[in-house]
C-alpha cells in the first residue's frame, strides 16, 4: 500500500509542476480523510487554493472552511486557527498544536506525516492508504 502511494506521488512529481503536484497530493489527502463535517478547504496560499479548487470543494473565506491548509500562520485569523489545520512544514506541526498533519519536501523528497493523537482529538479518520504516514509524536 505504502509503495503504491509512493509510486503515485512519484508519478505525479514527474509530470506536474511543483504547485500542481502539491495541489494534487493535498487533494488526495483530503479525499482520504473523513471528519464529522463537510470537507470545505481553505488555504492562505491563494495560488494553491486556486489549484485545489479544480478537484476539491474550497472556500475563499477561512470562516466557512472545515479544513485549513496552512502555509504561514501569520496570514490566518485567530478564529481560523481553531479549525482543523493541515500544515505545509514539519516545524509548523510544533508551532500549531491543533494541526493534525503535514505535507512537505524533505531533501527534495515528498514527505507526509499525520500525528495520531491529534487526529483522534480532532475526530479525524484516515483511510488505509494514509496509514503508513502515521506518527505517534513530533520528533
Amino acid at each position: 500500500m505504502r509503495i503504491l502511494l509512493l509510486v503515485f506521488i512519484f508519478t505525479l512529481s514527474l509530470f506536474g509542476d511543483s504547485l500542481g503536484l502539491e495541489a494534487k497530493i493535498i487533494s488526495f489527502i483530503v479525499d482520504n480523510i473523513s471528519t464529522n463535517q463537510e470537507k470545505i478547504v481553505f488555504s492562505d496560499d491563494t495560488a494553491l487554493l486556486n489549484k485545489l479548487s479544480q478537484t476539491t470543494k474550497t472556500t475563499q473565506l477561512c470562516q466557512n472552511a472545515s479544513i485549513i491548509i496552512v502555509k504561514d500562520k501569520q496570514h490566518l485569523k485567530q478564529e481560523c486557527l481553531k479549525k482543523k489545520l493541515f500544515v505545509l512544514d514539519y516545524d509548523c506541526l510544533e508551532k500549531l498544536p491543533t494541526s493534525f498533519g503535514a505535507f512537505f519536501f524533505k531533501k527534495g523528497r515528498v514527505n507526509i506525516v499525520f500525528i495520531e493523537p491529534r487526529l483522534e482529538k480532532e475526530n479525524i479518520k484516515i483511510s488505509n492508504k494514509l496509514q503508513p504516514y502515521l506518527e505517534e509524536r513530533i520528533w
Binding site: V7, I9, K106, K107, G108, R109, V113, P132, W139
Partner: protein, 639 residues
C-alpha cells in the same frame, strides 16, 4: 536530358557533405566525451565517499563499540555524539548537498539518526519517506548503491552506503550530490559545443545552398542545352560535351530534311515548325538512349551514334530514321506534307583529327546524298564508293578575304547553237581561288553568304569583271542574279552606270534569274526587268522546271531566254517523262517567243535527243567545261 555530366562538379558538395559528417561525428564524440568526463568524475567522487564511509563504519565500531542497530540509535540519541560525528563527516567534498544517516524502524520506515547537511536539516528520528528500489536492494546485496536523480530538483545522484557490523546492516549512510559539478564542467565544454554546433549548422547550410545552386544550375543547363522548338539538344550542348566525347565510340550522322525551304514556302512557317517538331519526335523514337541527337541548325540535325560494341548499329539507326520519316504521314491543316530526310554518315569519325572535321566529313556525305536524289543515306565520299574528298563549305570570312586578296575569278562556259555549230554566248560562273591554288566552286560559299553584304559585294565584283572582259569581245555573256540582286539599288546603279552609254555592250549582256528564287514582289521585279530591257540587256529565266512559278509569272517577266533545269535534261535520253516535260517547255517557249537553252548536257545521247526536240541552244560538259579563258567561237561537237 543532360547526358554527359562533368564529374568535377560533384566533388565540392560531396566534399562538403563528408566534412559535415565529420563534424557531426566530432560533435557526437564531444557529447560522448562530456558524458565520459561526468562518469570519471562521478566514479572518483564515489570512490572518495566509499572511503569516507568505510572509515566512518570503522570509527563507529572501533571508537564507539557499536555492535547493532540499537547501539547506533542510542549513540545518536545523544546530541553531543551527533555534533561530534557531524564534525567528523563535514570534511567531505564540497559537491555534497545532503549527508545523513538513516535507520529502518520496526515498521520498516526510514528515520534520520543524524543529519550533517548544512541546509534542510532533519530532526533526530524524523521519518523520511523514500521511494527508490535501491533502498531495498542495499539490504539484499549489502553493497553501496547509486541513484541517478533525474526528477529531484538540483540533485544529481544519491550514494547509499550500508553501515554494517558482523554482516548486519545497522544503518544507511546517504550522500546527495547536487548538480553544481556538472554545471561547472558544462560551463567549460559549452563554448566548444556551441562552436561545433555553429560549424555543423554552417556547413549543413552551405551544403543545402550548394545543392540548391546545383539544382538551379542543372535546370539552367537544361534550358541552355535544349532547343525550345524540337526539345532536342542544341549546338551549345555539343560544345559542352565535345571534350568528353571519345570519337572511338561514336559514328556521326548529319541529317537534313529534304526540300524544307519549299515546305516553308508552300505551307507556311507554322507548317515548317510542325514538320520540325514531328521529325524530332520520330528521331527520338528511332534512336537509342545511348545516342545523342542535336539540332544543328535550321532543318539540319547531328546524330552521335554510340557504336562502342557494334559498328553496324550506326547504319541501322540511320535507316530506321530514314524509313520512319518516309513512312510517317505529316498532316497539317488538312494537308499531307511529304517529308524525307537525307543522311550523311561518318562511320569512322576517329580518323578525323577533330570532331569539327568529323562533322565536315558527315556533311560532305550529306551533300552527296542531296546531289544524288535525296531521301538516302550516304556512307562514302562518292556514290561509287570512291574516296573523293569534297571541299568543305566556306563562309563569309572566306569570301571577304578572297575579295580583299583578288582571288575571285570568273569561269566561262559556252552556250552553243547546235544548228550553226557556233557559240552564241557564254555563261559567267564565279570561282574563288584558294591560297594554295585550288579552285572552289560557288556551291561551297554562295549559300552561306546569301542575304549578306558580302553577297552583294561579290555580285557587283562579278558584274564589273564580266563587263570589263566583254567590253571588247564580240560575243555575249550571261550573268546570274537572284531576286535580291535584281531589287538591290547598288547593283542596278552599277549596271546602269556601266551600260547606259554603251548600247552595243548592253545588247550582248543577258541577266539570268532563278525561276525557283523567292520572288516576293513580281511587280517590283517587272519594273527592274523593264529597266534592264530599256538599257538593251536580255533576260533569261534560269533552271526553269525546278521551281513552282506558273506560266503567267514567267510570261510576266518578259524574258528572252528560258533555260531548262539540268535535273530535267540529264535523264532525257532514258526517261520518257522528263523528255515530255522538256518537249512541252520548248513548245511553250516558242509560243512565248523565248529561246530555249538546255543545261547539263553531259552526254552524246542527251545532245542528240535535244537536237531532236529542237532546242535552240545547249550548255554542258559534253559541249565544253567552264574555263577561265573564252573558248573559240566556232567548233563542232564530237557526235
Amino acid at each position: 536530358m543532360v547526358k554527359v555530366i562533368q564529374p568535377k562538379h560533384f566533388l565540392v558538395p560531396i566534399g562538403l557533405f563528408l566534412l559535415a559528417l565529420f563534424f557531426v561525428y566530432v560533435y557526437y564524440s564531444a557529447i560522448k566525451s562530456k558524458e565520459n568526463i561526468y562518469s570519471i568524475i562521478e566514479n572518483d567522487m564515489i570512490s572518495e565517499y566509499q572511503e569516507l564511509f568505510e572509515n566512518f563504519n570503522k570509527y563507529l565500531v572501533n571508537k564507539h563499540n557499536i555492535k547493532n542497530k540499537k547501539d547506533l540509535l542510542l549513540l545518536f540519541q545523544d546530541k553531543k555524539n551527533r555534533d561530534a560525528t557531524e564534525e567528523f563527516l563535514s570534511l567531505s567534498s564540497k559537491n555534497i548537498k545532503y549527508l545523513y544517516i538513516l535507520q529502518k524502524d520496526s515498521k520498516g520506515r526510514f528515520r534520520f539518526l543524524l543529519d550533517a547537511s548544512k541546509t534542510d536539516k532533519a530532526r533526530f528520528y524524523q521519518k523520511f519517506d523514500v521511494d527508490d528500489q535501491k533502498y531495498k536492494t542495499i539490504y539484499k546485496t549489502h553493497k553501496p548503491q547509486v541513484i541517478h536523480q533525474a526528477h529531484i530538483d538540483s540533485l544529481y545522484l544519491t550514494y547509499l552506503y550500508p553501515l554494517e557490523v558482523d554482516g548486519k546492516i545497522i544503518g544507511i549512510a546517504n550522500i546527495d550530490i547536487d548538480t553544481s559539478f556538472k554545471k561547472e564542467i558544462a560551463k567549460l565544454i559549452t563554448p566548444y559545443e556551441l562552436l561545433f554546433q555553429a560549424i555543423v549548422i554552417f556547413i549543413i547550410l552551405i551544403v543545402v545552398l550548394i545543392i540548391f545552386q546545383f539544382f538551379y544550375y542543372y535546370k539552367s543547363r537544361h534550358k541552355l542545352f535544349s532547343d525550345p522548338l524540337t526539345k532536342l539538344f542544341n549546338r551549345h550542348y555539343l560544345k559542352e560535351i565535345v571534350e568528353y566525347l571519345n570519337l572511338n565510340n561514336y559514328a556521326i550522322a548529319m541529317l537534313d530534311l529534304d526540300k524544307f525551304k519549299t515546305i516553308n514556302d508552300v505551307y507556311g512557317h507554322d507548317a515548317g515548325d510542325y514538320v520540325l517538331q514531328q521529325s524530332a519526335k520520330i528521331f527520338k523514337n528511332s534512336i537509342r538512349d545511348s545516342d545523342i541527337m542535336i539540332r544543328y541548325g535550321g532543318e539540319e540535325f547531328l546524330l552521335l551514334i554510340y557504336t562502342r560494341h557494334e559498328k553496324t548499329n550506326a547504319l541501322e539507326v540511320c535507316e530506321r530514321i530514314r524509313t520512319n520519316i518516309e513512312d510517317y504521314e505529316f498532316n497539317y491543316s488538312d494537308q499531307t506534307i511529304d517529308v524525307t530526310v537525307s543522311i550523311g554518315l561518318n562511320l569512322s569519325p576517329v580518323e578525323s583529327k577533330t570532331i569539327d572535321n568529323a562533322i565536315k566529313v558527315a556533311d560532305q556525305k550529306l551533300y552527296i546524298a542531296k546531289q544524288n536524289g535525296r531521301n538516302m543515306i550516304v556512307t562514302t565520299l562518292s556514290h561509287q564508293g570512291e574516296s573523293k574528298l569534297i571541299p568543305e563549305k566556306k563562309g563569309v570570312d572566306f569570301v571577304k578575304h578572297a575579295i580583299f586578296d583578288n582571288r575571285v575569278l570568273c569561269f566561262y562556259q559556252p552556250i552553243y547553237d547546235p544548228k550553226t555549230s557556233q557559240i552564241v554566248k557564254y555563261e559567267a560562273l564565279v570561282r574563288i581561288k584558294e591560297k594554295d591554288g585550288k579552285i572552289v566552286s560557288p556551291f561551297f560559299f554562295m549559300p552561306n553568304i546569301e542575304h549578306t553584304n558580302i553577297h552583294y559585294k561579290i555580285t557587283k565584283l562579278i558584274i564589273s569583271m564580266v563587263l570589263d572582259k566583254f567590253e571588247n569581245e564580240k560575243l555575249g555573256v550571261s550573268i546570274n542574279l537572284n531576286y535580291s540582286d535584281f531589287i538591290n539599288k547598288d547593283i542596278l546603279k552599277l549596271i546602269e552606270e556601266r551600260l547606259s552609254g554603251n548600247k552595243e555592250l548592253a545588247s550582248r549582256i543577258t541577266f539570268e534569274i532563278l525561276e525557283s528564287d523567292e520572288i516576293e514582289n513580281i511587280t517590283l521585279l517587272q519594273t527592274k526587268i523593264e529597266k534592264l530591257h530599256s538599257l538593251g540587256c536580255h533576260i533569261s529565266i534560269d533552271d526553269f522546271g525546278s521551281g513552282y512559278s506558273n506560266f503567267k509569272t514567267v510570261l510576266d517577266m518578259e524574258a528572252d531566254f528560258l533555260k531548262i533545269d539540268g535535273s530535267l535534261v540529264k535523264n532525257i535520253a532514258i526517261n520518257q517523262k522528263d523528255c515530255k516535260v522538256v518537249s512541252n517547255i520548248i513548245n511553250f517557249a516558242k509560243d512565248a517567243n523565248m529561246k530555249t537553252i538546255a543545261e547539263f548536257v553531259h552526254s552524246k545521247e542527251v545532245y542528240e535527243k535535244l537536237v531532236e526536240l529542237d532546242v535552240d541552244y545547249m550548255q554542258g560538259y559534253f559541249i565544253a567545261e567552264p574555263q577561265p579563258q573564252l573558248k573559240e567561237a566556232s567548233f563542232k561537237v564530237d557526235v
